[in-house]
Symmetry: C2
Subunit: 206 residues, 2 copies
C-alpha cells in the first residue's frame, strides 16, 4: 500500500534515554531517517555541514523564519536552532519515516506551522518518552556521575515541568527498558502507516 511516511516528534526530558531508544529503533528499522536541524552556532571541530547540522548565519536563518520555512525553531543561549519543512517533507512524501528530536515548546510550534500543509499535517505524530518515575530519572542522572548536585536538581525540576505537557502528545511511552520502548515506538509507527488519513490510493475498489 502506498502511503505517506510518518514524521515522529519524539520528546522527553533530559536523561530519559531518547538516544538509546532511537538507536534500538534504527537497528530494527534501518529505513527510518533522522532529520538534520539548522543552527546559527559555529561548527565544532569535526562537524560536517549537512550531517550534524545545516550551519546558517543569522541573516539566512532570519529570512527562513520570515518565509515560514521552519517546522519549529528556537533561540538557545543566543544561537538559533530549527527544523526546516523542506528537510522533512520530501522524506515523508517518499513514504519514509523520520524522527524529529523536538522539545515540548517545539512540538507546540509544529502544530501551528503545519496547519495549512495537508501532507505534513497528516504525517506528523507526537510521542512523549517518560521515565517510570521521577525517582528513576534521578537515579539515571546521578548514575552518569558527570554533573554537579546543582545541575542534577535543575535538570529534575525542568524534567518535571516538561513532563506536565504529556497530554498534548498523541502517545506516551514509558521507558522502563530501552529495547521494549523501541518496540512500542515501532508499533506506533507501523500503525501510523495504516491510518486512512495517510493513504492516497484505494486498490481494493479497483
Amino acid at each position: 500500500m502506498k502511503h505517506i511516511g510518518t514524521a515522529v516528534i519524539l520528546s522527553g526530558p533530559s536523561g530519559v534515554g531518547k538516544s538509546t531508544v532511537c538507536s534500538h529503533l534504527f537497528k530494527a528499522r534501518p529505513g527510518i531517517g533522522f532529520s538534520v536541524s539548522c543552527t546559527t552556532r559555529s561548527p565544532r571541530p569535526g562537524e560536517v555541514d549537512g550531517v550534524a547540522y545545516h550551519f546558517l548565519n543569522k541573516d539566512e536563518f532570519q529570512s527562513k523564519i520570515e518565509a515560514n520555512a521552519f517546522l519549529e525553531w528556537a533561540e538557545v543561549h543566543g544561537n538559533y536552532y530549527g527544523t526546516l519543512k523542506e528537510e522533512v517533507k520530501p522524506i515523508v512524501m517518499a513514504g519514509r519515516d523520520v524522527i524529529l528530536d523536538i522539545d515540548v515548546q517545539g512540538c507546540r510550534l509544529v502544530k501551528t506551522s503545519c496547519e495549512n500543509d495537508p501532507v505534513l499535517r497528516c504525517s506528523i505524530i507526537s510521542v512523549f518518552l517518560v521515565p517510570p518515575s521521577l525517582e528513576v530519572l534521578e537515579r539515571r542522572l546521578r548514575g552518569r556521575g558527570t554533573e554537579t548536585e546543582e545541575a542534577i536538581l535543575r535538570r529534575l525540576g525542568n524534567a518535571r515541568r516538561e513532563m506536565e505537557a504529556w497530554r498534548e502528545y498523541d502517545y506516551v511511552i514509558v521507558n522502563d527498558e530501552a529495547e521494549e520502548a523501541a518496540r512500542r515506538l515501532e508499533a506506533i509507527i507501523e500503525s501510523s502507516h495504516l491510518r486512512t488519513t495517510v493513504m492516497d490510493e484505494e486498490p481494493w475498489i479497483k
Copy 2:
C-alpha cells in the same frame, strides 16, 4: 501503565477473511475478547444464550433501544441485532481489549451513540479490512464453491459499495495474508494503548 482497553470495530466485506484474521489475533493475544451481540431471532439448535448471542424478545429489544442501551443495532430480515454498551464497557474499563464485528452502517451508529460517553468514546477505534483488489475478493468468493453465480455477483456488488466507506474508518488493513494482517491489527491495538487519551495515571511525575 494503567489504561483503558480498546474496543476495535472490525468491518470488511463478506469474503475478506475477517474470521481467519481474528483467529490468528486471538491465538497471539488470548486476552482479547469478542463481544456477544443481542438478537431477537430464535436460537438455533446448540446455540447457548450468552455465548453465540444474548437472545431477547422484541419487547425487551425495543425497550433497550428506547433506553439508548445499544452501541449500534439493526433490523435484518425482520430480526433485530445489536451490541449493548454494557457488554463492551466493563471489558474496556478493566483494561481489556474487545473486537466488535460491526458493519459500515453500524460503525456510523456507534460514533453517534458514544458521543456522550467519555470512556467508550476514547476506547473505540475502527478498522476496515479490505482485500488487495476486487479480483482477489471474487476469486475467494468463487473458491468457496458454495454459492450461485447470482449470489456471488450480489456479494461483489455489496462489497464494492461497502468498501467505498473506508475513509470513515481510522485504519485500513489490506488482507493479503491473514497472519500478516493479524500482526498489523496487533500493532494497531498495541499502539492504541499508548494513546495519551486512554491513560488515567501519570506515575512519571510522581
